[in-house]
Homo-oligomer: 212 residues x 3
Amino acid sequence: MDIFTFILEIIGTVAFASSGAMLAIEKKMDIFGVNILGATTAVGGGIMRDVILGVTPPTAFAQPVYILFAIITSTLLFAIVYTNPDIIHSKIKNKFYDKVMLWCDTVGLGIFTVVGIQTASRHVTDDNAFFFLFIGVLTGVGGGVIRDIMASETPYILVREVYASASIAGGIVCIVCRSTIGEAAGLVLGLIVTVVIRALAAHFHWNLLRIH
Amino acid sequence: MDIFTFILEIIGTVAFASSGAMLAIEKKMDIFGVNILGATTAVGGGIMRDVILGVTPPTAFAQPVYILFAIITSTLLFAIVYTNPDIIHSKIKNKFYDKVMLWCDTVGLGIFTVVGIQTASRHVTDDNAFFFLFIGVLTGVGGGVIRDIMASETPYILVREVYASASIAGGIVCIVCRSTIGEAAGLVLGLIVTVVIRALAAHFHWNLLRIH
Amino acid sequence: MDIFTFILEIIGTVAFASSGAMLAIEKKMDIFGVNILGATTAVGGGIMRDVILGVTPPTAFAQPVYILFAIITSTLLFAIVYTNPDIIHSKIKNKFYDKVMLWCDTVGLGIFTVVGIQTASRHVTDDNAFFFLFIGVLTGVGGGVIRDIMASETPYILVREVYASASIAGGIVCIVCRSTIGEAAGLVLGLIVTVVIRALAAHFHWNLLRIH
C-alpha cells in the first residue's frame, strides 16, 4: 500500500514539476528559475499539507527524493525545449503545448488530492470526513496556487473551468470508497473521478455561473 | 466567554467572506472562484495564526463551521448580485459598493485582531504583550493579504490609509484592557478602536507620510 | 557561538529590512507600508524556517528584537529618503540606488542561508545534509520571495542572475565546513561564498541558460 502511494506521489511530482517548469520556460526564465518553479509546484502542496497537519519537518524536506525527481524532470524538459524551441513556437498552431500543460496539471491535481487524504488519515486518528476533504483539496490545489502566484498569474483555481470542484468531487469519492471498498480503491477511484471531471470540463469548456 | 468569542468569529468570518467574494465577483470569477476566494479570505488569517502558534490541525480545518459560513455567505452574495447585476454596475455612481466592501473588511480586521490575541493567550502561557500583539495583527490582516495576493492586487495593508496601524492600536487597547478590566472588555474595546480608527481614516482619507 | 550567530542575524535583519523598505519607497507606499514590507522581508524567511522545523511560536514572534530592528531600519531609511528625495530621483543616473539594493539583498541572502543551516542543526538531531541545505536556502530566499510577491514583482529568485544557486553553493560550503573545520568557520565561509558568487554574478551579468 505504501509503495503504491509512493509511486502515485512520484508520478504527481513529475506531473506538477512539468507544469511549473513549462510555465517558467514560457516566461523566459533561466534554467535555474525553471528548476525552482518546477520544484516549488511539485512539493508546495505537500509542504502546506504537512505544516497544517503538524508533520514537521515536512516529508518533502526530510526525504530529498521528491525534490530530486522534480529537478530531474525540470532539467530534462528544459533540455528538450532548448534543443527543440519549435515546441514552444508552434504552440499557437497545434495546441499541443496547452494540452501537455493541462494533462500535467490535471494528473497532479488528481494524485495529490487522494494522496493528501491518505496522508491526513495516517496522522489524524478521528474520522473527520470534512477535515480529510479540506486537506485533500489543499494538497491537490496548493502546488498550482504557489506556482501561479510566483509566476504573477491569477491562480488556476480561481479562473479555470471546474478546477477545485473536480478535486472536491474526487476527494468525496475517495473518502467514501476508503471506508467502504478499501484504501486502494479509494485512491484509484478518487483519482479517476478528479481527472475525468477536470479533463471533460477543459475539453467541453464547461463553465460555471459567472456575472458579466 | 467562549460563546461570545465564537459569535464574534462567525461575524468576522461572514464579513471577510463577503469582502473576498465581492472582489471575486468584481474580477468576473465564476461561482466557484467566488466561494474559494470568500472562504480563503475568511479562514486564511486564522490558519496562519494557528500554524504560527503550533495549533495543528488549525481550527478552520478541524471544525467545518467556519468554512461553511464562508461558503453560505459567498453563495448568497453571488446569488444577490447575479439577480441584481445593477448593484455592481451602478457602483461608480453611488459608491454603495465601495462602502460595503470597506465595512466588511474593517469589521473583519477588527474582530480577527482581538480574536487572534484571545487565541494566542489560550495557547501561550507566558504573558508576552509583544507576541500577543504580533499574533493579533497577523490574524487581522492575514486573510486580506491572502485575498489580495490571490486576486493579483497589491495588498490593502501596504497601500490603504491607516490599515495595519488601526489593527495595532486596537490590539494594544485589547491587551491593556484584558489585564486590567477583563477579557470581554478587551475584546469589545479593542474591536471598537480598530474599527473606528480604520473607518475614520477611510472616510477622511487620512494619509500617512509618503515620498513622491 | 550563539552571540556570533545573533550578531549575524541582526545584520541580516537590517539588510533585508532595507531591501524591503527601499522597494516600498520606490512603490510610493506610505511610512507604514514601508515598515510592514521592511519587517516582512526581514523576518519572513525565518518564520517560514521555524514553521517548517516545527519551532512554534517562531523566534521572530517570540523575541521582538528582530522586528524592532527591522522597524528602526525601515523608519530611518524612510526619514533619509524623505529629507533627501534626490537619492531616489538620481537613481537612473548613478546607479547608486540599485547597488545599495543589491548589496542589502545579497548580504541578507548570505547570512540567512548559513543561519538557517545553523538553526536546523539545533532542532533536528540526525545529520541530514540535504535537509539542512533545503532549510538554509529556504531561509535565505524566503524573505525576498515574500517581499516580491507582496509588492507584485516577479520573485528575484526566478529571474535574477545566479540567485538561489549562490545560496545553494554557500549552503554546501557551510555544511561541509561545519562537519570538518567547525561551526564558526562554516558560518563565515558559507556566507562569503554566497555573497561573492551573487555579487560577481550581478556585476558581470552572469546569465544561466535561457530559451528565447
